[in-house]
Symmetry: C2
Subunit: 334 residues, 2 copies
DNA sequence: CTGTTAGCGCTTTCAC
DNA sequence: GTGAAAGCGCTAACAG
């Protein structure tokens, strides 16, 4: 019976007529006599040999694998992020283990432990919860946006404050005089909260203090938005606002729908700017709403660079990348 | 200096005062004296011990890891599929290595080799290319939709033929008398081609032979669609068709846009049915177009069951899951 | 520069 | 029942 399993280094050594160590050297690019190298390379090709990464991982205590934890891969922001993380990792010769936590702390912790025991070279996490105290020792972790209670995990995020400012200025530039603001945020603090701060800051520079709705994310955001609008609607149907900055494209889209259902025209009666930059089908270049776009590919690349970086002690504790405005049909053209 | 790396089985054995093999047995659920078991379990807890999956993988030749190859994680169909694959895998105690191939054959082959050398327990592939002859031996592979030239890889797909039939019947039920058909397909044969067959079959039962556009996927599908429509438009603006089945939601959405831009009303002038069942933001339940929906969670579960199945020789070579129609605003309500 | 060898942490005989 | 010991395939230190 023929040998069932994949050829090993030993097989290559026998085939090439050299010692085991020599094969290892050839594979790892350590200088070796020309003729030896050729013999080994031929044998490798002949046997279709591939190094067993488990044996190597066991020896080297590393795996060429990085774990990405996101809430889910349905939300287009998360899945795009995963896509670009994979791309960047691939360029660096690493593979991505993708974990969808559903935002459940227990799952996040379980994935973290798995990453540790599986010798993941690191973890990039985009979580709802504070996993600060559950991070295994010696497991490099980079956080997207969320700040963890260990106060230690380097964070990468978009410049949300600047994005908020940008949203306010764009709305005014497009003729808004009464900007409003809607946000549904998570109970845990993150950079995303700064969208609001930037917006309010920019408004205050114009001596405006916008009306706003600020609540925790929930399942009845639609009703909350509708209530907010009704609360600011006069008997003659006029509104207290002529523009709204909404903290995510999805919420902005909901807001649009509700306003349209009430008979308002977008952007004529109310202009809307969202945040994220999600395009329809994720592959067209058509946004759901005018938006402050996060630079997802660059955010991903930055996370990858950091998680693979050699001297983890030299990593900046916070890295903020610039956002940009993109027209998406819910603002007036300049 | 304290021990840096994670505790090993040896540490547990020392801590518990038992032999190495005993610890292994406890961990693997092999019967062991009650008092020994307790001692070991305590020691494990005390040291916060976790098995090193690389050592185990090296020994066992398996990794609790399954590789998923998709073209990208931007397209919502692919990313949803990835999401549910991950979910199903997690339930079975496995992890998912996600690979985005960009539809490039070389990358697909490279990922396949990686999966083999990384001792992936199997691969689920949704690819553009025919990777049939590059599949490493002994690597369990399940194909989504695509048929490979090795004629050997079990396939899982939606019942596309039934979906085509369903689309035709739904259009007629909604009052269409002149159904048309638009498809942009890949150069490689897959179950998805049957959407057309089913549609034409159902039409022929009604003694109709629909006009249609059938081309290879490309970057200028928009123009192709526009040309097709113009070709079937009369001087009085009337059209040769009053309903179109388009082979994907994305293409259906493009078709909608083009028709609207030309001044036609959807669904009043033309009804449109797509295929896939993609919802806006992937998380709302609002479709882009009325659609024949693929049962993504079930497809994923089926792929996972098959790739992890014990007797690979008993796997059906083709498994077709039922689709269903869902209203999405581009058809008339019954 | 080459070949030999000792483990990496684990599972699994095989004696006891 | 338990414990000792032999590897899984690889790397790296060391001797030749």
């Amino acid at each position: 019976m023929k040998k069932q399993s994949a050829p090993t280094m030993k097989d290559v050594a026998r085939e090439a007529g050299v010692a085991l160590g020599t094969v290892s050297k050839v594979i790892n690019g350590i200088p070796v006599g020309e003729e030896y190298r050729l013999k080994v390379e031929e044998a490798i090709k002949r046997l279709n040999y591939e190094v067993n990464t488990y044996a190597r991982g066991l020896k080297m205590q590393k795996s060429n694998t990085v774990t990405l934890i996101i809430p889910d891969a349905l939300n287009p922001f998360y899945s795009s992020f995963a896509h670009y993380i994979e791309n960047s990792l691939y360029k660096e010769g690493h593979f991505m283990v993708l974990c969808c936590s559903d935002g459940i702390l227990e799952k996040e912790v379980e994935y973290l432990n798995m990453a540790s025991q599986n010798q993941s070279d690191g973890v990039i996490a985009l979580t709802y919860n504070d996993i600060g105290k559950y991070v295994p020792q010696n497991l490099p972790l980079i956080s997207f946006d969320r700040i963890y209670s260990n106060n230690f995990t380097p964070r990468v995020a978009s410049d949300n404050f600047a994005g908020g400012v940008m949203a306010a200025e764009k709305l005014m530039e497009c003729g808004c005089r009464h900007p409003a603001f809607i946000t549904f945020h998570s109970p845990y603090p993150g950079e995303a909260d700064k969208r609001k701060d930037g917006y309010l800051h920019a408004c205050s520079l114009h001596n405006i203090s916008p009306i706003y709705l600020s609540k925790l994310s929930s399942s009845n955001m639609k009703e909350d938005i509708a209530d907010f609008i009704k609360h600011h609607r006069h008997p003659d149907k006029s509104l207290d606002f002529d523009g709204i900055f909404v903290n995510t494209d999805y919420n902005a889209y909901l807001t649009c729908r509700i306003l349209k259902d009430m008979g308002y025209r977008i952007p004529d009666d109310v202009q809307i700017i969202g945040f994220d930059g999600i395009s329809k089908f994720s592959i067209s270049d058509e946004l759901f709403v005018s938006s402050i776009c996060q630079p997802i590919p660059e955010l991903a690349q930055t996370c990858v660079n950091m998680v693979l970086s050699k001297d983890k002690n030299m990593l900046p504790s916070l890295t903020l990348l610039p956002v940009h405005y993109k027209y998406g049909g819910t603002t007036k053209k300049a």
